[in-house]
């Protein structure tokens, strides 16, 4: 079982949080496409607003379709509760916003998504929240970076796009030793491949847009409250352990315990920031979630086959996937394989890489990952283009790096498509030699 359900993961993905409703017996989760909900009475309205009863008030805060997705994801990750948001970035923002205030500090892995680096390095800095970036698998560096005002350690379970696997148990041990929670963006792993809470994480974030949705049709995010962190004992989290004035002095830790963070996000971030997931997007994302395990098996097996195939191609300079020469912690954390992302470089550098991407016919050159279709991108000129040269190096992004999100197409067709790209790259190399 996960720590939140006695059902198996595939059953959770299909059934958790919804049973056919009584009026019409809809087997699929209905789309509650409504902004608001009629109250039985003034007293009931008052009770809902004052958290004296559960239910729905306004779809910026909660929505029945979104709630099914939340409860399913919380159960899959073994959390105490979940809050879905408009995007993965907003999920990260509300997590940081709920744990940190002006004057606080975050310790983050260097090898993370470009927009997350921007959020941590520039956007939060405007609110006087600082961040120190470290090699997250260097526990001495993590420990040394923690300050009196540090509120969380952050990493991606598989870094984007460097694909470094974070040693979650070791990082959690380091963070917990100093009373700090570990927040993990597990987008590249999905709940199918790894459940960070089982390995010491306290908060898990996903861009649900990616493999969980899986079809490239809806943007969304989720924050899952692991429910294991003792916010009071830590002594660092007044947002959770001190009275919250806007809710008549509500003390989230005292009243909701393991779900304190989720309730704080619900009561504050969803109300004040309003980065809500739409019910239609929740419905689309639920369709993806229901087949997550089946798709992930094909994603991973295709990725492993493509890695092997690329390693055999003359035009390829290097290939990177976490399963290549996997470290012990990678094998332990990802027994089913470390995802379907890979990076590689072609001989001839950036120009040859560009030729590779431009020659592809089946694969799509776009700024997304985790679609069922194979996707490619040159991060140095797109997702990570706003980073300095030094930050690019720290993030493990060379000029020739091509990022591939391997899809679930028939393997030979992906190989044939990549063959087109490699031939185009080889031509660039030949031209470079002639010049």
């Amino acid at each position: 079982m996960s720590k939140s359900s006695f059902l198996g993961a595939d059953t959770i993905a299909l059934h958790s949080g919804y049973q056919p409703e009584s009026d019409h017996g809809s087997r699929a989760v209905p789309i509650y496409q409504t902004t608001s909900y009629v109250f039985d009475s003034v007293d009931e309205a008052s009770a809902l607003f004052n958290v004296e009863q559960g239910g729905h008030i306004y779809s910026r805060i909660t929505n029945p379709t979104v709630a099914v997705l939340e409860q399913r994801l919380a159960a899959l990750e073994g959390g105490a509760g979940a809050i879905c948001t408009a995007s993965g970035m907003s999920a990260l923002f509300v997590s940081f916003f709920s744990l940190c205030s002006a004057g606080d500090h975050i310790v983050s892995a260097t090898q993370i998504y470009g927009s997350t680096i921007t959020l941590l390095k520039h956007t939060l800095k405007r609110f006087n929240i600082d961040c120190t970036f470290v090699d997250i698998n260097d526990q001495q560096a993590v420990s040394d970076a923690i300050q009196d005002n540090t509120k969380l350690v952050f990493c991606e379970s598989i870094g984007n796009p460097g694909l470094a696997v974070s040693n979650l148990p070791a990082i959690a041990k380091t963070a917990h030793a100093q009373g700090i929670p570990l927040v993990v963006d597990a987008t590249f792993a999905t709940p199918y491949l790894n459940n960070p809470i089982e390995h010491g994480a306290d908060v898990v974030v996903h861009s649900v847009t990616k493999w969980i949705g899986g079809h490239g049709v809806a943007v969304g995010g989720v924050v899952i409250d692991g429910g294991n962190f003792d916010w009071l004992k830590s002594g660092r989290f007044p947002t959770l352990t001190q009275p919250y004035e806007p809710f008549h002095g509500m003390n989230f830790w005292e009243e909701f315990g393991p779900a304190a963070l989720a309730m704080r996000i619900r009561c504050e971030s969803m109300r004040d920031i309003g980065a809500a997931m739409t019910p239609h997007n929740a419905f689309l994302l639920l369709q993806g979630l229901e087949t997550l395990s089946l798709r992930m098996q094909q994603h991973v097996s295709n990725a492993q086959a493509i890695v092997t195939w690329l390693q055999q191609q003359d035009a390829v300079a290097w290939v990177n996937h976490p399963d290549i020469n996997a470290e012990a912690h990678t094998k332990a954390l990802f027994p089913k394989g470390a995802g379907s992302m890979l990076t590689f470089g072609v001989k001839g550098g950036r120009d040859a890489g560009a030729a590779f991407i431009n020659a592809l016919q089946l694969s799509s050159n776009l700024a997304n990952v985790g679609d069922s279709r194979t996707l490619v991108l040159h991060p140095g000129s797109t997702t990570h283009s706003r980073l300095s040269e030094a930050d690019l190096v720290a993030a493990g992004i060379g000029a020739d790096l091509i990022r591939v999100s391997v899809g679930i197409e028939t393997l030979k067709d992906i190989q044939a498509d990549f063959g087109l790209g490699l031939r185009a790259a080889a031509k660039v190399v030949a031209m470079q030699a002639e010049a």
Partner: protein, 266 residues
């Protein structure tokens, strides 16, 4: 709020408002291995509607320090000392499962301070399978999981939640696994005065309310009906709920609780 009882810091949930002993006080008593958070929603309603709420974490449970109490009788005596410390005079006892055994026993100690008793998902005796007690002693997490798998009804086993986005099973596992579940269960096994206490309450005419769960496999409905008979009251049954009634059906259980307590206060 935190108060000192028997030289130990004790947490009393007050439903989000400062405690006022001059108001009629709804005393919410948690079950084996759980804590005040099971009452989170009901507590807030009472606190914001003219009552004071007194929902303790029993010693060594969640936010309270101290040594775990080993018998229902000692828990009842401790409760009365806690109520004395807070100068509570006007008491409506509400107990879930083991919490109602404590309420039954405390009823003999409160005299005319007691205004009513309300039972949720319970019985006058709570026998516990010895294998569960043994598991709770050796592997509390496994025992908590066993109890919650048995304790929640069908809807919640399928991930339902009265509070959108939450996972009551996940919350329950975390709370129960760190509390002295084995000691609580052993105290339930040993307690055999429940029927007698219930009959005494009926004899003195103490107002009582019994709320049962149709899918309760921990304290089956038939046992709760016997309790209602001993209390000389009619039981009300929430058919779609399991044993974790206060979390599974907070709205329905609150409606019955508040209707009853309001009627007593009138």
């Amino acid at each position: 709020m935190y108060i000192q009882v028997d030289n130990a810091i004790t947490f009393i949930a007050t439903g989000g408002k400062p405690f006022d002993a001059s108001l009629p006080t709804v005393v919410l008593l948690h079950g084996s291995g759980t804590d005040h958070r099971g009452w989170a929603l009901q507590a807030r309603w009472f606190a914001f509607h003219g009552y004071s709420v007194f929902a303790p974490d029993f010693p060594a449970h969640s936010l309270s320090d101290g040594e775990a109490l080993t018998s229902i009788e000692s828990m009842a005596a401790w409760l009365v000392r806690a109520l004395d410390t807070a100068k509570v005079h006007n008491v409506h006892l509400v107990g879930h499962s083991q919490g109602f055994l404590v309420a039954l026993e405390a009823s003999t100690l409160l005299g005319d301070r007691l205004k009513s008793v309300t039972a949720l998902a319970t019985a006058s005796a709570i026998p516990v399978n010895p294998a569960l007690v043994e598991t709770a002693q050796t592997n509390p997490k496994a025992a908590a999981a066993m109890m919650l798998q048995w304790g929640f009804g069908t809807q919640h086993q399928y991930g339902a939640s009265a509070v959108p986005g939450m996972q009551p099973i996940g919350i329950g596992v975390r709370i129960m696994a760190s509390n002295p579940l084995a000691i609580d269960l052993a105290a339930c096994v040993d307690y055999n005065k429940g029927a007698q206490r219930a009959q005494q309450l009926a004899t003195i005419g103490c107002p009582s309310c019994v709320i049962l769960a149709g899918q309760d496999r921990m304290t089956p409905k038939r046992e709760g009906l016997k309790l209602a008979k001993d209390l000389n009251t009619q039981a009300q049954v929430v058919e779609e709920s399991g044993h974790m009634l206060l979390m599974e059906a907070p709205k329905q259980s609150l409606k019955i609780m508040k209707t009853f307590i309001q009627s007593v206060e009138k």
